[in-house]
Symmetry: C4
Subunit: 275 residues, 4 copies
């Protein structure tokens, strides 16, 4: 790890840009994250009318600076990557490209109506922030618990969507277009608003029967929230227990023994007791 005497520029750059184990690599990553957060904040702040009218010009300049920085970064990544095509096709490669493209497209197509679409694409720069996740390795336990429980959660959501459809149909017929339930999609929207206990109040049942069914919908929503919580809690508990005892048998290398086990339950050799 300390005898890398002769390296080409490409290798050095790769170590800085893609690597995270050298000092330079860490500094590069941190300054990149700062740039990403700042550029996203800029786009957000620019949507406020009072700020746009006063500092709009300055924001436009800062915007181009960030676009320049991200363009250089993208080209450097393409240049120094061992597999440039694979990088360009990867999730982060596409996100990197999408985050610089809108600014250039605005130059080529200067139409007035095009501005809105550009703005949408420009917001994709948010996805760059997702890169931050690279720097947090804690999420594995959570992710594993979620993958373990995904089948059960899918089944739960499938059942819920059936309940939602049935309730939507009933409410559509009971309340009807005159009380805001103008179509089935709108009725489904109302049912989801109600079953998730959001309750905007933009569409509310007016008839007594409708209010009764609405109350039932709420109680269903209130109760079934217990199900995914129960599934996930059980999985997380199990993942924690699994992680808990990481003692490795010195004979057969098996890990994950019970905390109270004295002998390896695979080969029978004695286990170390360190706590």
């Amino acid at each position: 790890m300390d005898d890398i005497p002769q390296e080409t520029l490409k290798l050095k750059l790769r170590q800085i840009i893609f690597g995270t184990d050298t000092k330079a690599g860490r500094y590069f990553d941190i300054s990149l994250i700062v740039c990403i957060v700042l550029s996203v904040a800029l786009v957000f702040v620019d949507t406020i009318d009072s700020i746009h009218s006063r500092y709009g010009e300055w924001i436009r300049i800062a915007e181009w600076c960030f676009t320049g920085i991200f363009t250089i970064e993208y080209l450097l990544r393409l240049y120094c990557s061992a597999l440039p095509v694979q990088y360009a096709r990867s999730f982060y490669g596409v996100v990197d490209l999408l985050s610089i493209l809108p600014s250039y497209l605005a130059l080529i197509f200067p139409g007035a109506n095009f501005t809105l679409v550009i703005r949408v694409l420009r917001l994709f720069r948010i996805f760059r922030v997702l890169k931050l996740l690279r720097y947090l390795s804690e999420g594995n336990l959570l992710l594993r618990a979620m993958i373990q429980s995904s089948r059960k959660v899918f089944l739960f959501f499938f059942s819920v969507s059936l309940i939602v459809m049935v309730l939507s149909a009933i409410m559509y017929v009971v309340e009807g277009p005159e009380h805001g339930f103008t179509s089935m999609p709108k009725s489904i929207y109302w049912t989801i608003v109600t079953i998730t206990t959001v309750g905007y109040g933009d569409i509310t049942p007016q008839t007594t029967l409708g209010q009764g069914i609405a109350a039932l919908t709420m109680l269903i929503g209130y109760s079934i929230i217990a199900i995914p919580t129960g599934i996930l809690t059980s999985e997380i508990s199990q993942e924690m227990v699994r992680k808990k005892d990481l003692r490795r048998c010195s004979n057969c290398l098996k890990m994950g023994h019970e905390v109270s086990a004295l002998y390896c339950d695979k080969c029978g050799s004695e286990l170390e007791t360190d706590l």
Copy 2:
């Protein structure tokens, strides 16, 4: 399983329509599901005014095609079933009939006012989607956990409904008809809207005392959601542990080994491996 040399048409059909273990049977089921989803989507889309006025005629034709398909399917099921009467009386038999009936009833009673009722009945076709559940066998653990905890959950809902009634009565007296609490049913509706934390805002307390009781109602609702979650989580955890390993050591009779264990970690004798 591979020597069924001579079969009548009935047996072959039964294997295709009711069975799921042959290639033809699986293809039949999948195409049936596609038909059900499409026909439900059609009914949903038809409720949107702009689509109904433009494509209404096409949807009516497609509607009749689906009705034809489901009629043929229903008759075939009746024909090839080993116990036709039992099928007709079963849950899916009734749903199958209800999903085709409305279209035919609309022909017999062509009254204008009758259309709405037909529409309601036609929406029952949604229940056909429940058949999809047949194809998911994961739900057993969840279902068992829910059945195990049903007594406790019932007791919980009984207590909640008592609390709801008491709070409704108090709010009805405190706020009164002039603030929207026109009757006890309406007051119960408000209490359920509040205790489930839905909070439409169509009826809100106006007096200071009423707002205090409302705040109490919210805190009750916010707290007691923990109870069904706690019940269900504990049950799911136990079901998972129960499922985890039911192998019994033939030597020392110890149960509850880890799923991957080959030897009993108490006496060292070998365990059966059946999974």
Copy 3:
């Protein structure tokens, strides 16, 4: 239990009215519950204007019938109780009296303004339904889990009320009376509506800073719901495990051993293994 040859009327009545282990006692309880539920339903239905104006007279007569039944029941309980004073002072004794009192009070004070207060008191009859809880013995586990966790839940609610007060004060200053936050009690009401995720929308923040603090309040409310759930779930899990192994030591009569225990951990004598 089967040699009670000579009983006075009092003893027989007590067995019927207070007891639940004879056939007559069970019939008495069930018909009483039916009466309570019917009388409560009557009071509820009477608050609906259209029903009150049409069937008001009939409801008033039924009301008096139920008052008569409950008066007779109350007097019988006083007569046959072994400790009449103790019964009259007990929770159910007071509730029984309160549920019949309002109707008689309305006769003595026939003032028009007095009607509303009478109505409030009459609604106390709902509490009679609480007697139904006598017939459900499942609730012990839940109750024990809640008592076990009451200290932690109290601490939780104390912390939450401090957070609510601080947030209310900040919002009162930030938004001020012109945006609906007219006083601290109103601001506290808003904070509870928000932190419990009810969200009526009758008072909403208008300034950008206020909306930021509101968003923070929501996130706090959304997160801390996990705490009581976590406390209660853990307690219920432990109660279930505790209940699980009910083996009694034949030597010292201790119950609640660990499932895997072979010897009693109190006196050391061997335990039976029956599963």
Copy 4:
């Protein structure tokens, strides 16, 4: 503990003011808490217009009395503390100072516009109530569970805020300023209102596409609430088990006995009893 024959005034005062193990110390603490609660209640009640106009003068006098009491308490704490500078810089030292400062500042700067700021600062007195937490020692288990799970919860909130930003950007573009989504901060506010299932209804999606994305937002919010609950529940369960018994059998070194166990259930030797 009973031979403290000669003490200076300072030591005695310190024992009363900072200590809680003498009778005088406990009385001092309790009367201090009563004063804090009363003074906070006074500030709250003063914000109600009808009370302020009628009793405003009396409240101002009571306010000054409390300020006097708290000033004396603060000076005494500084005088008798073993480390006065350390106390003045500690959390409670700063809070104690902040709770008396506003009243004096109002004398020095009697400007009319300054009143509001004074009121804000005066509300900091609420934080004094936090001192009450000193008197509850139950919170350790909860706190430890929260610290243990803080990394996972932080990761969760980081992911949620990314999801919130992406959904806000999409809704800002889809709905636009004409439907209330006037800027990105407002759009973020709406997303948090929706994802936490608060649902004020002050800003609601109007377009069909917007309602679809809103429904998705609600379902995300409804589902992910399971994650912090799962994390915390698992941690609390583990903390409870950990707390349950840390006694180690001196013979076989087995840990994790039941709290009530007198003998080790593995080897039968007696256990220490320290609780």
